[in-house]
């Protein structure tokens, strides 16, 4: 098969799949094409969409590729049809998700230790939304439940994989910078005063 044809097949599959498609799943369909070829054609296709300022784009999300609309055109979509959007996540939910995303697998007690508040209700809500899953029990007395984030979590936040999140160290450094600015400001103020 010609590259152009393979690319067209990939595009077709992306269009129809309804969920993010991994390179391996494409490989299952296009048996004779090797993985690296499929991957490079994915990139090409992605690039082509970008080049012709299409309203659509190909995003790398939840471990695969998917055709998606651009967020800046959301207004037009909503004008065309009533879009049912779930309400945004609450702050406690986001906080709990952040802790789990970085520390998974994690038990409830550890989450509550960081947040300083009971998190039972929040965790249940996130399980219902399929943003969290139970992946087993920790081998300690009481065998507490271990939680982890799901594929839906990656999809919801537009992440390819969990390591796409900025590292916690980056947050610390960012904050430290803030702090050093404020301290140096404070110092310069005292300098002026004296």
């Amino acid at each position: 098969m010609e590259d152009a044809e393979i690319k067209a097949v990939i595009e077709t599959l992306l269009f129809i799949s309804g969920e993010s498609l991994s390179v391996n799943r494409i490989k299952n369909v296009l048996e004779d094409v090797d993985l690296s070829k499929i991957k490079s054609l994915f990139w090409e296709l992605q690039h082509e969409y970008e080049m012709r300022s299409s309203g659509l784009r190909i995003v790398e999300i939840a471990g695969g590729f998917q055709i998606a609309t651009r967020p800046e055109f959301a207004g037009w979509i909503k004008k065309l049809k009533k879009v049912k959007q779930s309400s945004k996540l609450s702050r406690p939910s986001l906080e709990t998700l952040a802790i789990i995303a970085y520390k998974q697998p994690i038990v409830k007690a550890e989450i509550e230790d960081i947040r300083g508040v009971d998190s039972t209700g929040v965790i249940k809500g996130l399980l219902d939304k399929h943003l969290l899953k139970i992946i087993g029990r920790k081998d300690v007395p009481g065998r507490p439940i271990l939680y982890a984030t799901t594929r839906e979590f990656l999809q919801y936040f537009g992440l390819r994989e969990i390591s796409d999140l900025p590292t916690l160290k980056e947050f610390t450094e960012l904050m430290e910078e803030d702090e050093s600015i404020t301290t140096s400001e404070a110092q310069s103020i005292t300098a002026i005063e004296s």
Binding site: F15, I16, S17, G18, E19, V59, Q66, I67, A68, T69, R70, P71, E72, A74, I77, V83, K84, Q85, S86, K88, L89, R91, P92, L94, E95, L97, A98, I99, A101, Y102, I114, R115, G116, V117, D118, G121, K124, D128, Y156, F157, G158, L159, L165, P166, L168, F171, T172, L174, M175, E179, T182, T183
Partner: protein
């Protein structure tokens, strides 16, 4: 049903402390413990005034702060020749605050991502919705079933029944009855309401409910919910899909009955 009332935007004692530190531009590594303790107590008093149920976590933090404050007031014994530095009584609290703040930042980052990505839409999976009608339905979890059950119990006319009928209600028996009914109705299944029509007592509803849970666990039935509608439907998992499993299950039922 319980309602959670939030005072301003604080999600807990740590969040409140961080807010106080930020508000007064205090140095997190050198918190003026007596000022912050005082402010903390002012908030607790405000919460009391507003008649809010103050969560135990807030009280615990108040105790911690008071404890640190009293420790700070004690004169430090300086032992000559002993290099070992006594730990700042605030150290543990600072560590927790820093840790919590890190995740607050991370949550902020997720919030920004959410803002962008909830405005991204994907092509719908038209192929499967045309050929497998079931896929339009959402598989629902046990929690949805429990919610529905709660509603049924609430809707039940609460007249106390005087007749005492020694009915033989067993979960096993009900399971077989349900399966028989569902086998007759075919793939579209029955709504939860329809299934419970005959049950007039709380006891009967509970037995049916337990039977449904058991059947769901054995993968003999499927709980479905049409998107946007909160009616639960119960369907038989078609026997040609999982013939072996289903048959086996039935056989077990009969043996134990």
């Amino acid at each position: 049903m319980s309602y959670q009332v939030r005072l301003e935007v604080f999600e807990g004692p740590l969040d409140l402390l961080l807010h106080l530190i930020k508000k007064d531009e205090l140095n997190i590594y050198d918190i003026p413990i007596s000022t912050i303790t005082q402010q903390y107590f002012e908030y607790i008093d405000l919460m009391k005034e507003l008649n809010l149920d103050i969560a135990g976590e807030y009280i615990l933090m108040a105790a911690t702060l008071t404890h640190i404050k009293s420790k700070m007031l004690l004169p430090q014994e300086e032992k000559v020749g002993e290099e070992e530095e006594t730990e700042d009584p605030r150290a543990e609290l600072v560590r927790r605050l820093l840790e919590y703040r890190k995740f607050k930042e991370a949550a902020e980052d997720l919030c920004e991502r959410e803002d962008i990505w909830r405005d991204v839409f994907y092509p719908k999976n038209e192929v499967s919705s045309e050929f497998e009608e079931e896929e339009v339905m959402l598989d629902v979890g046990i929690f949805d079933l429990i919610d529905a059950f709660k509603e049924i119990i609430q809707r039940m006319p609460d007249k106390t029944s005087i007749d005492i009928i020694p009915e033989e209600l067993t979960v096993r028996g009900r399971m077989s009855a349900l399966i028989e009914r569902l086998d007759v109705t075919g793939p579209e299944g029955l709504t939860l309401w329809a299934l419970l029509e005959g049950d007039t007592t709380r006891r009967a509803i509970v037995v049916t409910f337990l039977a449904l849970l058991e059947l769901a666990k054995l993968h003999l039935i499927r709980l479905l919910q049409i998107e946007g509608d909160d009616t639960l439907r119960i369907c038989r998992i078609s026997s040609n899909d999982e013939a072996g499993e289903a048959e086996g299950g039935d056989a077990d039922d009969k043996e134990t009955d």
